[in-house]
Structures are given as structure tokens and as C-alpha cells.
Amino acid sequence: MTLSNRSTAAGATGADTQTDVAMLRVQDVTLSFGGVTALLDVGFEVRRGEIFALIGPNGAGKTSMLNCISGLYRPQQGSIRFTDAQGASHELTRLKPSHIARLGIARTFQNIELFRHMSVLDNLMLGRHVHMRGNVFTCGLYWGRQQQEEIAHRERVEDIIDFLEIENIRHKPVGTLAYGLQKRVELGRALALDPALLLLDEPMAGMNVEEKEDMARFILDTNQERDVTIILIEHDMGVVMDISDRVTVLDFGRKISEGRPEQVRNDPLVIQAYLGEEQFQLRW
């Protein structure tokens, strides 16, 4: 990886001053499926403006944690509080996923979940859904106000298309695109929502080195230029060390470590947890 170290870059731009505010506060979250405990008393805080990495071996509960935040899973215990830009606090464990999206939380999925038969443009336009007003009547008429709305949001979407450099595929059905491009489009759909908090579940899985570098750059730019706070799940430790401000490590549903990347990498508990995980040792 050729990226500069995040912590110094952030310090240089003065981003640290605004990272003290907790945007997301996860407390004592416990989630189990029948006999399987996916999360046990997990708690952490994500500060406004940071890239927060969630790592851990396979089955540690990382995806489950994101699913709790986006409202797809209901934890049996614990609380997840989100503070929006206006300073209002919301208990996410009681809200529907669509409501959580409206608060400004967007995500991507570990296994790409795009709208396969729709074009790249339409996928991104769906990211604008919560910001649009059109209803059955205005949409059915497609006249005046509705047409203007569609065009205005199309312009926002075109910004993201430029940003992600996917101009030449905008009319393509996403189902026909290569894997790496689909991952990029999925990021685009999440960005189209103009999120305050972005949840990325292994955005670089299955990519080659070049694609990973592109994706890492998009994530950094999203964080710095678009002012988006990010929770990142990633197995590639090189990337995690490079781009994240802070890291939380899960193992068997428990939090075993937290801190700056260089602190976490030397934590004996973490090294213990990853024993036998080849990729971790290789890329460390």
C-alpha cells in the first residue's frame, strides 16, 4: 500500500479537534441466534469524522454488529445511540432500517446486494430516495415539479459517478458488471444517500491489489472530502493499519481490544486470537 499514514494526515488537517464527539455509542450489545451467541456485551464509541475499523477472525460477529446498527438485527440487550448533525439522539435498536437510513446512515454489504436488473444510474438514484418527495401522483404524471426533482437528483448522482470514475458504465445493468465494479457501485449507492455515517462491510474483499488501492483512495476521500464518518470491516490488515484512525477487535462475539492501529497490532490478546489465521500473519 502506498497510502500515507492516516493518523498523521488527520493531525495535520486539524481533524482531531472534531473527532472527540461520539456520533455512535454502542453499549452492552448482546445478540444471539438460538444457541449461538454472535455478540456479547459489546460496547464502543465512534467519533465524528473518523474511520473506525472493526476487525476479527471469521465468525467474530462483525457483520452482526453492522446489522444491529442498520436495524436488520434486533439485539436482545444493549443500546445503540446515534447522534445526528442537529445533535438529536436516536436509539437505533428501536427503529426500522428504512428509518435509520433517513437519519443518514448508509451501508454496503459483505456479499454485494445491488439491484441487479437496474442500471448503475437507477441504483444510485435509489440512494437519493430518502431525499426525494415524489409520490404516486407526481411520479405518474412526471410533470413540472417531479421532472425537476428527478433532474436535480440526477445531478447529485452524476457527482458521485464522477467521483467514483464510473461514467462509462452508468447505463449498464449492474448484474452484468465485473465484481470490483459492482463493489464500487454499491459504495456509490450508499454515498448517494449523503450519509453522516457509512458502514462498509469488507469493501475490498476479493479484489486485486490495484482495485484495493482505488477503493482505499475512495474511502479516504469520502471520509476527508465528503466529511463522512466510517465504520469499516476489513480482513486486509495492511489496509486497516493504513487508513483507520482507531480499531476495535472482536473475537467470538466479545470485544478483546481497542485502540490506535499500532496499539492493537501489538496487543497479545489480538495476536492470540489471530493465531492460525494465515492471511492475518501474512499481511501483518
Binding site: 445491488l114 439491484f115 436488473h117 435509489l126 430516495h129 404516486v136 428527478e150 449507492r189 444517500l193
Partner: protein
């Protein structure tokens, strides 16, 4: 890489008919629809009216099944609600066509939302079973609430009048049926290039991702049921006003399956496919009927077989389309268009 036409504004790029060829083709089609009734015999006008009404119904079902991915076996029931509501408003309360049709549509929409409630929990074939319940319940109510519906006897309503004209000929009704079909098609086309329609398709393709991006999936499913059954109600109400005799036998489970076949053959999730499917499924039986009549004297044995042959052809057509051309006649049409788009330089 697509070559040829580029658009300089988003507005042009987002238009319904984006290329001049498309606009011309649409104009030719509309011109044909206007000239047709003056040249056609009663027989063909009757077929045209049937196709127009079937197109409306197919668009309604396609919105629910093809675009939103909610399988429904209740189309016959929804059309029945539309037809009987219109008939009852006209026969018992003397409401004119421009009131009995919209009221019938609203009632059908409400009934559709009610029977769409199971979609909160059920998907796919299980939801299909739940909509089958709509079919059974509506049929039962119609055949048993004799004082209102006439029961198993047909309900007779007065022929509709509009602007002082009695709409009792195929020619006069043609204008109503065809303009309603065009309006329905335009409405649906607009819907699916803007916010609400996109949300429907998102639910079909990936409902979890739709919810997570902010689409209130359950609300939108109910909305799809409402719009779809509103349009099914429109088809039913028009049919009632056209025939002026309403019998429950026209709206059985067979009708529901017929319309599923229409949209499968025409193309799921396409608007012109709804028209192609409706035309195909209306014209094929008419064609076979004519053939039967022609063969009656020369080869009566063959003529006797034809109804069975018709069923077999329907079945075969559905299977062939499911296997070979999952996107139906609309896809074939697109292939033809693509061919001519670059013609004569086909590469």
C-alpha cells in the same frame, strides 16, 4: 460501447422516448389507433376493445408481479370487485360512467391493500396462496350476497352514456377503452422512471437492500397492491360498462391465471409487453375459433379438437417463454428494434 446518439442534457437523457426513431414509431402507432376504428369491422373492433381492456389489466398485474415481485393469483377477484362495483353503482344508484368507474377503482384499491397485508410476512408462493384467498373470498361474497350482486345470476346494468351519447356500440366504446389503455400505459411508464417505481423495482430485486437504503418496504408493497388493484378495478369496471352484463364466471381463478400468462408471455416488468401479451392471448383464441368454424364442414373431427389444441398452445407458449425468452415478447421486440437500430450496419 454504444455508439450513435448522445444526449447533452439530463432531461433529454431521462425522456420516455429518447431517440427520434422512438417518437416517430409512437406517433405512427397512435395514428394507427385513430384510423383503425373507421376501417375495422365490428368483429375487429370488439377484439380491439378486448385487447385494450386486457392491456389495462395486464399493466396492473405487471406493476405488482413484474415490477414489484409480489406474485398474485387474485387478479380475477380484483377485476370482479371493479366490475361489480361499477355495475352496482350504475344499476342501483344510477351513477354515470365517469363516476361509477373511478369509484369502482377506489374500492378495488382498498380491497387490494387489504389482501396485500399478508405481504408483510409472506413472499413468493406463500404470498400467492394468500392472494388465492382473495379469489375464493370475493367469489364467495359475489355468489352469496344475492341482494346486492345478483348472486349466480348475471348483474345487468344500463348502457353507459357520455356527453349525451350512448356508448352501446363497439365503435363508440373503442375510444374510451383505448384512451384509458394509453393513459394507463403512460402513467405506468412515468411511474417507473421516477422515485416510486424505482422503489418498487428495488423491492423486487433486493428487498433488504431497499429497506436499508431507506425504502419503507412494507408501505411500498401495500402501495403496489393499491395501484395494481386500482388498475385491475379500472379494467373490470370498463368491462362491466362495455358488456353491461356482469357474471362472476368471467372473474374466476382462470382469469387470474390467464393474466399471469399474459404478462409472462408479454414480458414481466415491461409495459409494451403487457400490450403484446394481451394482444397475443386475445387474438390466439379468436384465430383458433375462426379456424374451427372454417373446418366445421370440411373436417369436423379436427374442429372438435381445437379447444384442446388452444389450451395446449397456451401451455406450450408459457413454458417456451419461461425457458427460452424469460423476458417475453417485449424482449423479442427489443431484439428486433436493436437489429434495426444499427441496420444496415449490423455487427
Amino acid at each position: 460501447m454504444e455508439s450513435g446518439v448522445f444526449f447533452t442534457t439530463y432531461k433529454a437523457d431521462m425522456g420516455l422516448r429518447r431517440k427520434p426513431v422512438h417518437k416517430v414509431r409512437l406517433l405512427v402507432f397512435v395514428a394507427f389507433l385513430i384510423i383503425f376504428p373507421f376501417l375495422a369491422s365490428r368483429y375487429w373492433l370488439n377484439l380491439a376493445n378486448q385487447i385494450a381492456i386486457a392491456t389495462i389489466s395486464a399493466i396492473g398485474l405487471n406493476i405488482l408481479v413484474g415490477y414489484t415481485g409480489q406474485i398474485s393469483l387474485g387478479q380475477g377477484a380484483f377485476m370482479a370487485v371493479g366490475a361489480y362495483s361499477a355495475g352496482i353503482f350504475a344499476a342501483r344508484f344510477g351513477l354515470p360512467i365517469y363516476l361509477n368507474v373511478p369509484l369502482a377503482c377506489l374500492i378495488t384499491a382498498a380491497v387490494g391493500v387489504f389482501f396485500g397485508l399478508p405481504s408483510l410476512r409472506l413472499k413468493g408462493l406463500y404470498l400467492a396462496m394468500a392472494t388465492l384467498a382473495a379469489q375464493v373470498i370475493v367469489e364467495w361474497i359475489i355468489t352469496h350476497w344475492t341482494s346486492l350482486t345478483g348472486g349466480t345470476e348475471a348483474l345487468v346494468m344500463p348502457a353507459p352514456t357520455l356527453f349525451g351519447q350512448r356508448l352501446n356500440t363497439d365503435f363508440r366504446f373503442y375510444w374510451i377503452a383505448v384512451s384509458m389503455a394509453l393513459l394507463t400505459a403512460l402513467f405506468a411508464a412515468n411511474l417507473f422512471r421516477s422515485r416510486v417505481g424505482r422503489a418498487f423495482v428495488a423491492i423486487r430485486d433486493q428487498d433488504i437492500a431497499a429497506e436499508v437504503i431507506g425504502v419503507d418496504v412494507f408501505r411500498y408493497k401495500l402501495l403496489a397492491f393499491a395501484i395494481s388493484s386500482f388498475i385491475a378495478g379500472l379494467a373490470g369496471a370498463l368491462l362491466a360498462n362495455y358488456r353491461t352484463i356482469i357474471s362472476w364466471e368471467r372473474f374466476t381463478i382462470e382469469t387470474s391465471i390467464f393474466y399471469l400468462a399474459v404478462i409472462i408471455i408479454g414480458g414481466l416488468g415491461t409495459i409494451n409487453g403487457s400490450f403484446f401479451g394481451a394482444a397475443f392471448m386475445t387474438l390466439l383464441p379468436a384465430f383458433i375459433n375462426n379456424l374451427g368454424r372454417a373446418l366445421q364442414t370440411t373436417a369436423p373431427a379436427v374442429a372438435g379438437l381445437l379447444p384442446a389444441v388452444q389450451q395446449a398452445i397456451f401451455g406450450l407458449a408459457i413454458i417456451l417463454f419461461l425457458v427460452l425468452e424469460p423476458e417475453g415478447l417485449a424482449k423479442l421486440w427489443r431484439n428486433v428494434k436493436d437489429y434495426f437500430y444499427v441496420w444496415p450496419f449490423s455487427y
